[in-house]
Amino acid sequence: MDNEARLMRAMAAASPPSVDPGFMIAVMEAAERQRFRAETAHRLLRVAGMAAAAAALAAPFWGWAAANAEALQNGILMAGGLLALVAFTRVMTQRATAALHG
């Protein structure tokens, strides 16, 4: 056998097996682990960002709320009453419509 052929045969000896499910499984498991880690980190960052934004918005509100507790209470009661009135009106409108067309 000439040296060229010996070289090619010796080179070919390092070829990996054509069928090797173990390698595929290892790669895909590692890839999925990587994706899970990235997604978890992304989700955590988003939650932390939202929490920080909410805290930043709430901080000045708490100061104002403490100074205007009575006005705030009246405002909440008024808003609740307004919502109740809207809900009551909607229900009555639906019933009246049903009675007229029924």
């Binding site: 010796a10 000896a13 990996p16 290892a26 790669v27 890839a31």
Partner: protein, 177 residues
């Protein structure tokens, strides 16, 4: 795999389809592993590096611009990981563990003494020359493909392959097969 099929799988993998990525790995794992086995001289390490290269490719798939083939891109990632690992750990471990690889055989058809002589001669080649030889002679990459992966001029790669081949042939001559 046709370029169209590869482009379709890359697009699907980019959108998170792991089965498409598995198909890409399946199509190119032999070339990437074969190249890294010849480049590092240590099969188990090479397979670990190939695994790391594919996982890195999965993570950075959105940055793949399609200027080369997927095989070239992953081989380039593997080459850089292997080169950095070699620089960190030194070259001595290659020869120390080479025997273990020959013991577990693989798909060995060449005489053991030829494989050992080749591995020793490969280990003596400079990194870029060894990489060019491993790609072009070992896995049938084109010279221009290897030039892109190694970020070298085409003429330099051709010269590396020719000189590397001569040195490997001389090493085999001295083993008197």
């Amino acid at each position: 795999m046709s370029p169209d099929e590869e482009a379709r799988l890359i697009a699907a993998a980019r959108s998170g389809d792991s089965r498409a990525f598995a198909a890409l790995v399946g199509a190119h794992r032999q070339a990437v592993r074969g190249f890294l086995r010849r480049f590092t001289g240590h099969w188990a390490d090479a397979d670990d590096i190939a695994q790391e290269a594919f996982v890195t490719a999965w993570r950075k798939l959105s940055r793949f611009e399609g200027r080369s083939t997927f095989r070239s891109w992953v081989s380039g990632i593997g080459f850089r990981i292997a080169r950095d690992a070699r620089r960190a750990h030194g070259r001595s471990t290659v020869r120390d563990t080479a025997w273990a690889d020959h013991q577990d055989g693989g798909e060995a058809t060449a005489p053991l003494e030829d494989r050992i002589a080749l591995e020793a001669a490969m280990a003596d080649l400079p990194d870029e020359q060894r990489a060019a030889v491993a790609m072009c002679l070992g896995e049938g990459f084109s010279h221009s493909e290897a030039a892109g992966i190694l970020n070298l001029p085409l003429g330099t790669v051709k010269s590396h392959v020719a000189r590397g081949r001569e040195r490997l042939l001389r090493a085999l001559e001295t083993t008197d097969g």
